[in-house]
Symmetry: C2
């Protein structure tokens, strides 16, 4: 782990690290906000929220724009913001030259198609490699993890949370891509990373929140999902109604909230971040 | 006024406008956060804080990174974030090709040297043109204005606040360039914009907070100034000790606060923005 930068922020520290990732077969960057409780001579291991960002983001967008540090500092919660894809000259990116796949758009799954499978393993990186690496140097409690994210990162939070209910104690999402097998962003990425044959498309279900719910994945506690009613991607890309129906049919508790007038931007994320932090803080034993 | 974008944020709206500025002899952009009180059918004219940003910033940096909207929405305070210089292909920029003068670095004064004097009139734009333009369309109360800023914008806030004590009811600054005539950033910009001859340098005093205080400018209420103790620009560029002495000698009340471990970044701005908003809200009659 190489410390790239550290800024005092709300009496905690907003840091940026470079990691060597075996899963991604490359170096990657990650943001870590440490609350005051995790600093100083009497530092203690604190719970953490892993925040997965959306299309085109790096590890820095949420750290700079979500405004999570103020409430996280008060709650004693670390906030970990991984990059959204593998990167580097050796990492293939979108053959179509667009921004919705490739660098900045890894979709939080483990690719099986060449050439993507060499690097595009964001699922295994986030679930199995990130916390062990961070915990070698930082006072984080890997047994108390929450998971959240925005847009493509909301998809990641729902999928990883449903696949690993024991690893993440709480799961929430802001404006998530809920049913990627049935929206253009998801279909494009899954087609490249997982393949397009009918057999390959059966594997898509493992990386789709609605399909996972249909196939019986379940979490004990409620999923918290916030969406802006004026989100321009609402119906075509996010498909919250599909999520609502899948949760209902699988008896999965879901708190799905539409917020009047809000769009898909970080101005919406910032407007609801405190309630997500508090949701996770409760599940992680930081507040009653 | 052309509305470029509008995002709901903390039940208010973060907007961006393009204005035609006579003072700047060009178009310019400005951010406006309207609190909930200023929206809807029963909107009322709200007080505003003008926030002047620092070197390299546009109108967007503070809107995206300072995290002011949450508290401003609660207080009923608008936040107006002008760009930091004139811009455009016809606007001359730094002959030295650096980032500390020219586009993104107008230093909030009225230039007298050619070719700068044609466009570089940020002082007159902020003091005399910005609010009348905004008030033609937005429910803002131009009689209740606060002024603040960061770094070069902190210099702007102090200078404009000292020159126009009746126009701005309250003045604060985060990590301001306090004594530009005596620091490299200020000397470079003033040399271009105002001239370098001994006679020209006498005019520098009109645009230097410390010199204005030495020459008798005074405000009734206290100046609030916050600075990070680990700011890498502290001694060479910011020179808060000069400000402290000038205020003391001129019986100008000053609340000068050093914050342990903080640097010059927006992570520091975000960490202290609420106390600045509250300082202005009190002066503007929004809280006791």
């Amino acid at each position: 782990m190489e410390l790239i930068s550290s800024h005092r922020c709300f009496n905690g520290e907003q840091r940026r690290y470079r990691l060597e990732s075996n899963q991604l077969n490359s170096t990657t960057t990650v943001g870590v906000f440490l609350p005051p409780d995790a600093l100083g001579n009497d530092a203690k291991a604190v719970p953490a929220l892993i925040w997965l960002s959306g299309l085109t983001c790096t590890d820095e967008n949420a750290a700079q724009k979500a405004g999570a540090q103020r409430r996280a500092a008060q709650l004693g919660l670390a906030v970990i913001t991984p990059d959204t894809s593998p990167r580097g000259e050796s990492v293939p990116t979108d053959p179509e030259g667009q921004w919705d796949f490739g660098h900045g758009a890894g979709f939080y799954l483990d690719a099986v198609q060449e050439p993507w499978s060499v690097h595009y393993r964001m699922h295994s990186y986030v679930v199995a490699e990130l916390m062990p690496q961070l915990c070698t140097e930082l006072p984080l409690d890997p047994s108390r993890l929450g998971l959240s994210g925005h847009s493509m990162g909301g998809h990641g939070a729902l999928v990883l949370g449903l696949r690993h209910p024991q690893r993440f104690r709480s799961v929430s999402a802001v404006a998530p891509i809920s049913h990627p097998s049935h929206c253009p962003w998801g279909q494009k990425a899954f087609g490249y990373l997982l393949g397009k044959t009918p057999e390959a498309q059966q594997q898509w279900r493992q990386w789709d929140a609605v399909a996972l719910l249909e196939d019986g994945c379940h979490r004990e506690n409620s999923l918290l999902v916030d969406i802006g009613s004026d989100d321009p991607f609402l119906e075509e890309q996010l498909r919250p109604e599909d999520l609502r129906i899948a949760c209902k049919n699988n008896h999965q508790r879901l708190s799905l909230n539409f917020h009047g007038g809000y769009d898909h931007s970080y101005f919406f994320v910032a407007s609801v971040i405190d309630r997500h932090l508090e949701y996770h803080a409760k599940a992680l034993g930081l507040m009653a």
